[in-house]
């Protein structure tokens, strides 16, 4: 059996993510933000223009996802992770501003991983294709910016026991690389 999951309450301090190691199974609680491609492009425009961001990255976690519409009575429609590398050109802008975590799927660039180590940010993997189960962990969801982007709007979520795995920690660990090396025949 795998060890008991580590429970974390977001937003997170630097001290809270220090002990995390690649492969750790984590359950996230508290506030996280949804943003993906188009929202990141707009946030970069805001930064370039010197305008405030719709979310304060300090201590927060961004979840790369574009939910399907919710059925009546549900906080959020199915919402699994999308491919994180598409956000690589933008991620360091938020990491430099205190972003503490990112949730997605797939490998990150060396530039992003270096920025994470320098500023203190971890990359969590959620299992793609488990959108229905992940949405069940969302208690509240609210569009806070870019409503016109529909599925790509920025949303603030309140989550309970949201299951993730640490992919990239602060010490050079990389679950994708290590997992592949271990099981390669």
């Amino acid at each position: 059996m795998s060890p008991a999951p580590i429970r974390l309450e977001a937003p997170l301090s630097k001290e809270e993510i220090d002990p995390l190691r690649t492969g750790d199974v984590v359950r996230l609680n508290g506030v996280i933000y949804i943003a993906r491609d188009a929202a990141h492009a707009r946030m970069k425009e805001s930064i370039d223009a010197g305008h405030p961001l719709p979310l304060d990255p300090e201590g927060n976690i961004v979840y790369y996802s574009g939910p399907a519409p919710a059925r009546p009575g549900r906080a959020l429609g199915p919402a699994g992770p999308t491919t994180a590398s598409r956000m690589d050109p933008y991620a360091p802008l938020l990491i430099e501003r205190g972003l503490r975590g990112m949730i997605g799927k797939g490998v990150r660039s060396e530039t992003v991983i270096e920025s994470m180590r320098e500023h203190g940010c971890v990359y969590f993997g959620a299992v793609e294709g488990t959108a229905a189960l992940l949405a069940d962990c969302v208690r509240e969801a609210e569009v806070i910016a870019y409503d016109d982007l529909g599925a790509e709007a920025v949303r603030r979520l309140f989550v309970e026991e949201f299951p993730v795995v640490v992919v990239n920690d602060l010490y050079g660990g990389d679950l994708y690389r290590e997992g592949r090396e271990r099981w390669r025949r």
């Binding site: 059996m1 795998s2 492969g23 188009a38 996802s65 574009g66 939910p67 399907a68 519409p69 919710a70 059925r71 429609g77 199915p78 919402a79 699994g80 999308t82 491919t83 590398s85 799927k105 797939g106 490998v107 993997g125 299992v127 793609e128 294709g129 488990t130 959108a131 229905a132 189960l133 069940d136 529909g150 599925a151 299951p163 795995v165 679950l175 994708y176 290590e178 997992g179 592949r180 090396e181 271990r182 099981w183 390669r184 025949r185």
Partner: protein
């Protein structure tokens, strides 16, 4: 004597297919995932597959999408020579069905107007439709819901005849190595070979509509499919890319005649949310 099929019955069938494909994983695919769960040696890998199976059950019970990326709506249409479509045009009827299915099924609309103008079309149209004329008075619609994460990791290469089969196998495995976790393994791998450039790509997509794990009727290609599954599983990428022994559930190869100078190969990857459904009118 022509058999009449109305556009409204086509739209209705397409609407139902959109909802069925996005909310119910095919039985053959669930069986393939269950076999992978048995075979997977990595504990984290097994946990991933268990979550996928649990997610599929929840989605089916509640009639919700099991993956938020409800994709491109791709259709392979076998249109009988003795069929007369009445009341309008078949392409418009398929689009109307997609419009209704994606709205009424609470499915995400993911299509933008062009790679440059990235405004959403708002209803997941246009559908991507490939027509094949066949004999008889039937109309068969096979839908593939194609997510972008895995489609983005697909590739096509124009090999030379001298490079041959060995290079073809290497290219398939390299494509999967390069995709790593991004394509969301365990994968269904569609391989199209032959024809000119675009034919290989369409065959690779069509190969994905074959029921999970059903071998190619050509025994040589069936052997090649099995060999490729083994080579892909030796990469160690594993479920969700966290490492493991189950990276491909199946490889489906479709072959077509080609030119004396050519050996085109296309590899279209499909994630573990492998969504197909079909209807006959």
């Amino acid at each position: 004597m022509l058999r009449e099929i109305t556009v409204s019955s086509i739209s209705e069938a397409v609407r139902d297919l959109c909802i069925e494909a996005n909310t119910r994983l095919p039985q053959e695919h669930l069986a393939a995932l269950s076999r992978a769960l048995e075979a997977e040696e990595s504990e984290l890998g097994r946990e991933v597959i268990e979550r996928l199976l649990e997610n599929a059950e929840v989605a089916r019970e509640r009639c919700i999408a099991f993956c938020q990326d409800t994709g491109y709506a791709v259709f392979f249409v076998e249109l009988g020579s003795e069929v007369m479509i009445s009341g309008g045009e078949i392409g418009a009827a398929i689009d109307e069905g997609v419009r209704r299915g994606y709205e009424e099924g609470y499915l995400r609309k993911s299509i933008v107007r062009s790679p440059i103008d990235r405004s959403n079309t708002g209803d997941n149209t246009p559908a991507i439709v490939y027509y094949e004329p066949v004999k008889g008075d039937g109309l068969k619609l096979t839908m593939l819901v194609k997510g972008a994460g895995c489609d983005n990791m697909s590739a096509l290469k124009m090999l030379t005849p001298a490079e041959g089969l060995r290079a073809m196998k290497r290219f398939v495995v390299e494509t999967i190595e390069r995709a790593g976790p991004n394509a969301s393994p365990p994968l269904t791998v569609g391989v199209g070979m032959g024809g000119p450039f675009e034919k290989a790509a369409v065959l690779a997509k069509k190969a994905l509509t074959r029921p999970s794990g059903e071998p190619n009727p050509d025994p040589d290609l069936a052997v090649l499919e099995r060999e490729l599954v083994d080579e892909i599983n030796a990469t160690g990428i594993g479920p969700a890319g966290y490492g493991g022994t189950q990276t491909a559930l199946a490889v489906h190869i479709e072959s077509f005649p080609t030119h004396i100078a050519a050996f085109p190969v296309a590899v279209n990857l499909d994630c573990h949310s492998h969504r197909t459904a079909s209807a006959e009118l």
